[in-house]
């Protein structure tokens, strides 16, 4: 027999890519003398991931200067910060977009829209000096400066800002930004450096392992339970009529679980090529079909795939996003069933697609504290049917009291293959479309561009219109994944989980809190390309910018061309709204929320 050929390679290890390659042993030793690291129990950490390793590879030291914006409200991030020396201020009030160096979206009038159109530049990606750099308009104030090796935004008139806005001071040993880092949610406040300060930035992977230290974990847990869990639970519509005392008991019993990998975008290109069966098999299992229900799963962030065993594999029946519930049918039925009926097992499996953060409410707590306060109309179908059958039985008994005999009630039959409804997941009629949407992670899109190829005459009027309203530069090309008659165009989808917003050093890419549109603020974009590299759908492009005469802007210091990130901005501010949609002559193009199925399925139904 021929001996099998082997290819020797170095096995990838946990810390192949440190957060900061320049961290030294001396830095680590110094950190070990500071709280809370000096009080941590080294033996609590596994041999493969010792405390010194975490400090060396998952942390970085950052020096910040007074007035420097460390994190901005609304941004996404995957790091928490620990103050080592100096002080920082957490601004309780929101700062304006302008204070953060961003240009607020301005409504453009009809006249200005026409003038812009007529004065389009013949050169691609033209900008004014003010658009290229905030410093150009600063009049001596340097709003963007480099601090050590990173670009930083500075608040102007910091004393005035602190006087006018309520703020909280954080000093050595205090941690901030951990909730956004661990639970993939937007930062809830802006934090600025009050004095020159030294911070340790800890990425979420390291933060999770640090929780092996009991004291550190307890501090984080208490902080989360006290401040954030109530907020997250109150976001669940089903709990909105819950009295405060019941809510407190739910808060005490609820656990937060995380599955999968937060950097799902790094694997996206590989996993989308996998066969659906292989993809499902590779996804972390949250709940297995056939188990006895023990808790209600509420998706807090990320995505879940609900599947049912079908032959030798699993068939996707729905996908879950933020706020969706898993297991409510079974739990509500079990809580309301008479003892003579057997308990319903989980009818589906739940897998984490990429990553999934879930709140788990134990069934005992759900049955006693929550269920009595859910409106009848909001109960799942199975529980409603059960309740109806009880009501019918009671009526029958009253009607036939003289007979002293009531007919046996029709036994409840639950069809496990039945698709669950929103808010327990979203599904399409076509299983293949559902598989396709999850496979390509299009369910992340809140404003995806979808083209009906049976109506599209390939005239490219959508692309031309986009170019016309963006100074001659279309923000997308008509290409993208195709399923049956639908093309999911490569244009920014303004995602539910905007991975592009993680890591922007100046907060130039930001989501508008009112419209949900993710856009680039040119004047503070330093052209690092982090957002373009992070976008798994390749919907952000980096472009070298020129002035109206076509002369390239270059960096004063290095002489290198200035680059800016460009992407669809939904024609923010224009009176017409998204020009691509309005320009389609055959009603073939739509911007649609794919995180829910009804918009797309209704749109498809309408066109027959």
């Amino acid at each position: 027999m021929e001996s099998a050929e082997t290819i020797p390679v170095q096995r990838p290890s946990r810390w192949d890519e440190p957060l900061d390659a320049s961290m030294t042993d001396a830095d680590v030793a110094w950190l070990r003398t500071r709280g809370p690291f000096n009080q941590m129990d080294q033996s609590a950490f596994p041999k493969a991931t010792p405390l010194t390793g975490i400090l060396r590879h998952d942390c970085r030291l950052r020096r910040v200067e007074p007035g420097e914006v460390i994190v901005r409200e609304g941004d996404y991030g995957n790091s928490a910060f620990l103050v080592i020396t100096g002080n920082v201020r957490v601004l309780v009030d929101s700062l304006t977009e302008t204070q953060l160096g961003r240009q607020p979206t301005r409504s453009i009038g009809w006249g200005e829209a026409l003038t812009r159109f007529l004065r389009r530049s013949p050169h691609p990606e033209t900008r004014t000096p003010e658009q290229v750099s905030l410093n150009a308009a600063g009049g001596g104030h340097q709003s963007i400066r480099r601090v050590d090796d990173h670009p930083a935004i500075f608040l102007q008139d910091i004393d005035g800002v602190l006087r006018r806005h309520e703020s909280v001071s954080l000093g050595p040993g205090e941690l901030f930004g951990e909730v956004a880092a661990m639970y993939r949610s937007p930062r809830t406040a802006t934090v600025i450096a009050e004095t020159e300060a030294a911070l340790v930035e800890i990425r979420w992977q390291g933060l999770r392992i640090l929780r092996r230290d009991r004291r550190f974990a307890d501090t984080l847990e208490q902080h989360y339970r006290r401040h954030w869990l109530p907020v997250h639970l109150r976001e669940i519509p089903l709990l909105r009529y819950l009295p405060e005392e019941n809510m407190q008991r739910v808060i005490q019993a609820t656990e937060l679980r995380s599955y999968g990998r937060m950097e799902w975008n790094a694997d996206y290109r590989k996993t989308r090529q996998l066969h659906p069966a292989e993809q499902i098999a590779s996804e972390p299992l949250v709940v297995d079909q056939g188990q006895l229900p023990t808790e209600l799963i509420v998706v807090r962030s990320g995505f879940g795939r609900m599947c049912v065993r079908h032959g030798a594999a699993h068939r996707t029946v729905a996908y879950l996003g933020k706020g969706h519930l898993f297991g409510i049918d079974e739990i509500a039925f079990n809580a309301m069933r008479p003892e003579s009926m057997s308990a319903l097992l989980y009818q589906h499996s739940l897998h984490a697609v990429g990553f999934l953060d879930a709140l788990a409410i134990p069934i005992e707590v759900f049955a006693t504290e929550v269920l009595p306060h859910i409106r009848k109309s909001e109960l799942p179908e199975s529980a409603q049917a059960l309740q109806r059958s009880f009501t019918e039985k009671r009526k029958d008994r009253r009607r036939h009291r003289s007979d002293q005999r009531s007919e046996p009630a029709a036994s409840f039959s639950h069809d496990p293959s039945q698709d669950v409804r929103h808010p327990t997941g979203v599904s399409f009629e076509s299983t293949s479309l559902l598989e396709f949407v999850v496979q390509h992670r299009l369910n992340n899109g809140r404003d995806a561009m979808v083209i009906d190829l049976h109506r599209c005459t390939r005239c490219d009027d959508c692309v031309k219109a986009c170019g016309d309203v963006h100074d001659g530069n279309p923000r997308f090309v008509r290409q993208g994944a195709v399923h049956d008659r639908l093309q999911f165009v490569q244009a920014c989808m303004h995602c539910s989980d905007p991975v592009c917003m993680i890591g922007c050093p100046t907060g130039a890419i930001a989501r508008d809190q009112n419209t949900g549109v993710v856009s680039i603020h040119d004047s503070i974009c330093v052209g690092c390309g982090v957002c373009a590299a992070a976008c798994p759908y390749e919907n952000i492009a980096m472009a070298e910018v020129v002035d109206r005469k076509g002369r390239p802007f270059v960096d004063q210091a290095s002489g290198r061309a200035i680059r800016k990130a460009t992407k669809c901005d939904q024609c923010s501010g224009l009176p017409s709204g998204p020009a691509c949609v309005a320009a389609c002559p055959h009603d073939a193009l739509v911007r649609i929320d794919l995180s829910e199925s009804p918009p797309l399925s209704h749109w498809l139904e309408k066109r027959g």
Partner: protein
Amino acid sequence: MNPSQGPSLKLRRTIALSATLVVIAVFWGIAEWEAARLGRPAFFTGFTLLSGLVILMLLGVRRRLPFWPLGSVSTWTQIHLYVGLFTTAIYVVHVPVLIAGGMLESFLSIVFLMVTASGFYGIYASRTLPKRLTAVEGQHRFDRIDWVRHQIAAAAEKACQQISEASAKQVLQTFYQQALSPFFVSRPSVAYVIAPNGNRRRQLLGDLKELDRYLEDEGRRVAGQLAALVRRRDDLDYQFALQLRLRCWVVFHSLLSLVLLAAALVHMLVVLQYIG
């Protein structure tokens, strides 16, 4: 507006068509009434026609103003379709015969009928060609078709050059030079672009299959690759032909519409001149 809201396409079409028929009936009735009272129904129908033409031209204006909230182009296209239908009916009421006598009038009639015919063809083409395009493998952008064509030609040439088997090299390279290279390198013929068909594809694939008996394993594998490239190239040419047809139709219909409007204005001036 939420795209899932609003009436279905079928309902919208039924309502719009019914409304158009009602309006046609009303205008026809007015023209008849005008004729019965010995008025000048041609004036009424003529100005209605001219107004219809102006409204029809507004679609082009709307397409060129994407930055103003003037309603979606698809709504304007729907209005264009039904106004076009209405205008055609009014034309029938307006003219004594379909192609009028006289130099200007006959020219005007012919141009009107050509625009109308191209309009109706446009409805047919825009409803049927997209489905035919979708049915073909690969969705190619028109501006990238030349580039893709070169890529396919390069891939075919590379596949041929990489053959190591002497017998396969002789057989396939001869066939490549005689039949495949002209197919891959040149653009599709005008005849194919006008009426795309599967003849070339069938012939080339049949000939490639025929070569199988002269080939061994490697040769057959390369022949299979070449067959796949022939299919890709043919699908690409099919996409090119249909997309070009749709684009040519838009240009033809738009240009002819401009000529029609100009001729209609001249006709109106002439009529006003001679009517006194």
